[in-house]
Symmetry: C2
Subunit: 115 residues, 2 copies
């Protein structure tokens, strides 16, 4: 947890975010600049700066994030039509917030172009 991280602040409910689901490990937030009818972010409460901080010791978190992403896809009605999970890492990966998060996009035909 860090004082100046927007996702930490949203996770602590210090600032408002459109949280649609959560468990004790992660919360699921609607992206404020959606690129598709469904655009959610799966965010761990724990502050991890990026994907490069995932190692043998905390890799289980990735499974938890995917389970919550799959649940979100079902709740949003896109599990059968299709969806995409993306994690951006670092500058060339276009990571926009320095707190690990997974995008869930769906609700329209997504391009085969991945960025």
């Amino acid at each position: 947890m860090t004082d100046d991280c927007i996702f930490c602040k949203i996770g602590r409910r210090e600032i408002e975010g459109d949280i649609v689901d959560h468990d004790d490990i992660v919360f699921v937030l609607r992206d404020i600049n959606p690129q598709a009818p469904v655009h959610l972010l799966v965010v761990p409460y724990e502050h991890l700066g990026s994907l490069t901080e995932i190692d043998e010791g905390n890799a289980g978190l990735m499974g938890r994030m995917v389970l919550m992403a799959n649940r979100a896809a079902r709740l949003e009605g896109v599990a059968k039509s299709g969806y995409r999970l993306t994690i951006n890492c670092g500058k060339e990966g276009a990571q926009s917030v320095g707190h690990l998060h997974m995008h869930v996009l769906g609700g329209r035909q997504l391009s085969g172009q991945l960025g």
Copy 2:
């Protein structure tokens, strides 16, 4: 394992693929139509049709896939410059092969447009 799945066949070394890394659970393959200087696929040996087949029982696989993706990013020299992990699921997710796989893209500035 299925007889007519191209990733199963590559995993069994029945047909050629540019496999750059593997462990006992997943293999890492260079995409034949790369969208970036680094474009790899992390593929489990086990045949799972898509992301929707991930549940509490096999979610640990996702951690293993991310660890291998992170290792691939380091080996390819993009861990510091940045990279992106993407899993496409279903028709609107633009999933192209019916065997779960994770894209690893890097080596150039990726767009913030996720598809």
